[in-house]
Symmetry: C2
Subunit: 213 residues, 2 copies
């Protein structure tokens, strides 16, 4: 494979869409989730997001990055107004319609209806879950941090509860999300299934890590 070096100066000269494709591909594989929200008039919203990141286990917190200038703004407004949202894993059966939620629907249109998802409510939680998803997380806003450099917003949330198939919980607490057919993404529009290579043992300086059976 012949290597190519792309400098900052090269990047600056690229056409906008080409640069967005390239830079969005370079961070590695991404989690792809649907964020469900509901505004104060009970209008729901659903947005595909590729930036959910683990922030901590105690308290259990996840974060994601929202761009204020895109379709995600309805999501951001609803989270700010109501404090609650859901994170729903995407499986291969709902991948095409999940991607379709990224279209610029009007504020009055719910992506649940436009993209044919079923609302699900659990435990009196305000925000809607995606019934067709297998792993669903109820989230409460903790805080948002404005990223001054490009006006994105880092949304920090606390996990209220998790709904998932009992069979994918392993004995040590690991969740086998591949067994739930959760997919992953790369770039802006490329999707992938996964094939497990296995789990590696806890690494110690004086011993080689080994594959767990």
């Amino acid at each position: 494979m012949t290597s190519k070096i792309i400098s900052k100066e090269d990047l600056d000269k690229l056409e906008t869409r080409y640069r967005a494709q390239l830079i969005n591909s370079i961070s590695g594989f991404k989690p792809i989730n649907l964020i469900g929200t509901k505004d104060q008039n009970s209008l729901t919203n659903l947005a595909i997001i590729s930036s959910v990141v683990h922030l901590g286990a105690s308290p259990a917190m996840l974060a994601f990055i929202s761009r204020p200038d895109t379709v995600e703004r309805h999501t951001l407004e609803n989270i700010r107004d109501t404090k609650y949202y859901t994170i729903n894993h995407i499986n291969s059966n709902i991948l095409e319609k999940s991607h379709q939620t990224s279209a610029r629907y009007n504020k009055e249109q719910s992506e649940f209806n436009e993209c044919q998802f079923t609302h699900e409510y659990m435990k009196d939680f305000h925000a809607p879950f995606v019934k067709e998803s297998k792993i669903k997380i109820a989230m409460k806003l903790v805080r948002e941090i404005k990223i001054e450099e490009n006006s994105t917003v880092f949304i920090i949330g606390e996990i209220c509860f998790i709904s998932l198939p009992e069979s994918i919980i392993q004995i040590d607490g690991h969740i086998n999300i591949e067994e739930a057919d959760t997919i992953c993404g790369s770039g802006l529009d490329h999707y992938h299934k996964t094939n497990s290579l296995g789990r590696l043992s806890y690494a110690k300086p004086d011993a080689k890590t080994r594959w767990l059976s």
Copy 2:
């Protein structure tokens, strides 16, 4: 599949390692990268990180989350002191030794040596790249943000340059990282190869997205 609901109260009662396994698994698939740094005495460091996230394409910025209380602290210290670091994709050939970098080596030990990676330097850039990696990114620290809720640190960096195989750059700028054998992870220790499902067309409200050929 029988569903199970795990509440915040259930989570709080879990044994620490079990909870860490569970919460680390729930956000979806993760990018797995090696962060390369060098301190002011020319001692290098290499750390596996699963939290790199795309922050913006113009300027081209990536971020990651560092925990101050783990092996990653040498990485964090070096980034603070020198401002420069590298992000290197992990392929299946170097997966086991990449995981091994998470062992608690002493500050005087370089994971490059302990885990048998080859230093690579490019374009007079201060921080070392991993020669065995196929996709390598030179980064400059922009800013760090302390996450008060759990003392993690959100590290924002700007891309200085990228080195990658020319053959995986598609005509529209998309980088096919699967072709470079980049792997992904889930939870704390589970690794996966990917199988492309394809790319979906830009979604519009009045048309169904379709698979690109």
